[in-house]
Symmetry: C2
Subunit: 427 residues, 2 copies
């Protein structure tokens, strides 16, 4: 606990968005803002970092109290990171001590006693370290993580806000594209491949499996990072599908890899596609199919479209994103430190969930893969258990308002907080 | 006119879907079916071709009277070609005379006197030729085209059903992805490229321009097939945008080409991407940017997702698609032959349209490009005039009903009509 003389009567709070943004991370921001406003008696100002943690390091803070109630409401239906997010990982306390100390210095200068960090595994690690160093430095900061990741790979929590909406986008898009292909397969495209995100965990690819309900319905093949890619088996299955159903739809994770761990996007044709980070699994698979079977093919790479698609967000996901934001503030005010709110599933049918919490250390730097029993024995589909887990997460629609045919997304005012420190920090 | 003895009291009608399908072509089908049902006294059965014109050639007809009213209603919100479509072009009367004669033979066998052909330029050419040969063969068939193409490249009609929904998808997706990129550009991706359809005409790429309203808003660069690609100018503009706005969003038509007419997708890295039909403009551009400036980039290729995206269809588009289907039947019953209903724009603000008609010969095999005055002087954006044309076409939302988190699209019964001919036809 901090020395009494350091403690302002109404300490301020700091919120930052971290890592890849999602279509609902701003709903979490709205939850944090609403909760802080509700607890005006105990929390002074809520500041946000411009471009995430970078804003804290450079003392570039945004005063969220300058945002109107209407703007905060609109955050619930606005994708992207409204305050700016950053891919900026703080390393070990030893290696990056100066950065951690700078954070505390900025927090101290602005009477910030609450740190809400909205991100994934790496960010939870950072929040954990900040909570440690703040006490070492004699300036206690309550650190609460807020889960966010389209990859759905955080442990402990039943699911991650951000995932449900990508899952819905991928399931809907797969169904739509599959119907398109099916209706023209006789004289046109026979094989369609959709490449989706998920470098290490195949949750997003798995969600594509929701597009079909009965045997024979697309997608006919899902490629998971968790299942070693076997070219001969893949090509045989494609052929079997085309011969049986007239067409074949494949949903492939960008993290599809062979038994020796090599990413498919790294094989053969990689260089021509530019940087490997950008996928290339779909065209690689398409080329294999063309060479082996001669089928006409098409492929799509949704990339950022999938994680920004607020227009087709899952209502459940939006509600959970908002709820974890609000819960983070409640946890902090209840005296919890170095924790993260989690989604707890009470039942799948009907879907019932509530908010719990976990130690942030149990989440930091850990990844949750798709369990083997969610994947069919042949490795190409999802099981009934996988479907039972996934289906509730895409439940309900939550449409943004439209103006002139386009979603009416908000751009915040982002009023700058006057700086107090004389030193600059170059990131 | 046919001899009286050939004329049944209630002749039958035939409807076929042709070419690349759209998210609203089934709304046109619903318009045709509804109108035929309304005119039961004058039209007997409405048959549909299984897999388009292929179904007529092979005498594989679907009896639409077996579809329930609920199923027909659901066609209005179901993407793809519900009866199956075909990429199957009939050539000149001389070259493909046997096929045309086979068509008339099938029509005669099933008392079909009305032919409704739902497609693009090629299909209008076919419909025109069928109307000619039917009279030459002494079996009069009234041929009415129904416009459909995501490319919006049919002349005479103000716009083409199918385009408005792709336009909306591209505009919405561009806005969403651009917000995502903008919010992370400081530490992550600086350049994002979305490749869209439109091999010859840049209408779909132009629609991406609706995502931004003010100067500096994304997309910062649009690449049209109508404007010769100039690598140096493109790279200079990318740099300028990144330096001024912190990021750069590009919407590139798959038909982007250089002054000598070579498609960008055909240049340099083509082979590695497999078949050229599948795009490759986005990765080609991305590689250029990376090599010239070293910026971190991402790209997306929406492919079929854009034309199948009924979940984000334009309400105006759905209504127009339905209206041209219904109008085709009305035109035929009014004694018009070799015509096509068209969309006539009465005013842009407020948007008012009505249905007119044109001779099918004026549409066949012609392409309407984006006029130069819709494109900014620098060739990288759309003008106020272009915006005035495009904006009404993405107006309004028309959501499908959902079940378990997914759109509740219909799959038709597609009851087969008993064959009457002894001869088979191999396509």
């Amino acid at each position: 606990m901090p020395a009494t003389k350091d403690k302002p009567s109404r300490p301020n709070a700091f919120y930052a968005q971290s890592g890849g943004v999602t279509s609902v991370i701003n709903a979490s921001a709205a939850g944090v803002i609403d909760a802080c406003r509700r607890h005006r008696g105990r929390i002074g100002k809520l500041y946000a970092g411009r471009d995430g943690i970078v804003g804290a390091l450079t003392e570039d803070l945004i005063d969220t109290s300058k945002e109107t109630a209407a703007a905060v409401r609109a955050l619930k239906w606005t994708p992207s990171g409204a305050f700016g997010s950053a891919r900026y990982k703080l390393k070990d306390l030893e290696k990056d001590r100066a950065k951690y100390e700078r954070l505390i210095e900025v927090f101290r200068a602005h009477d910030i006693r609450y740190f809400f960090y909205n991100g994934g595994n790496d960010s939870m690690d950072t929040a954990h370290k900040v909570s440690q160093i703040s006490d070492q430095m004699g300036y206690h900061v309550t650190c609460v993580g807020i889960p966010k990741t389209v990859d759905n790979d955080l442990p402990v929590t039943d699911c991650c806000p951000g995932f449900g909406s990508v899952a819905k986008y991928v399931a809907v898009s797969t169904r739509e594209a599959a119907m398109d292909v099916a209706s023209m397969a006789r004289t046109s495209t026979k094989v369609f491949i959709l490449e989706v995100m998920g470098r290490h965990a195949g949750w997003i690819a798995a969600a594509g499996g929701l597009a079909g309900r009965k045997a024979g319905e697309a997608p006919h093949i899902i490629l998971f990072p968790e299942i070693a890619f076997d070219q001969a088996r893949f090509l045989a299955r494609v052929k079997e599908c085309v011969e049986r159903y007239g067409y074949c739809v494949v949903v492939a994770s960008e993290g599809t890899r062979s038994a020796d761990g090599r990413f498919l996007a790294d094989m053969g044709t990689r260089d021509a596609f530019g940087h490997v980070q950008l996928g290339g699994v779909a065209p690689t698979l398409a080329t294999m199919v063309k060479e082996a079977h001669g089928y006409k093919f098409h492929w799509a790479l949704a990339d950022y479209l999938q994680r920004a698609a607020r227009h087709i967000a899952s209502k459940v996901d939006v509600e959970q994103a908002y709820a974890v934001g609000r819960a983070a503030v409640e946890l902090a005010l209840a005296g919890q430190n170095a924790v993260m709110p989690v989604i707890v599933r009470r039942s799948s049918r009907p879907y019932r969930w509530t908010i719990g919490s976990t130690d942030i250390a149990d989440v930091a730097n850990k990844e949750k893969m798709v369990p083997r029993h969610y994947i069919t024995a042949d490795g190409f589909g999802i099981t009934a258990a996988g479907r039972r887990y996934l289906l509730p997460l895409i439940g309900g629609e939550s449409y943004p308002p439209y103006k002139d045919g386009l979603p009416d997304y908000v751009v915040l005012r982002k009023a700058r907080v006057r700086r107090k420190l004389k030193t600059n920090f170059v990131i």
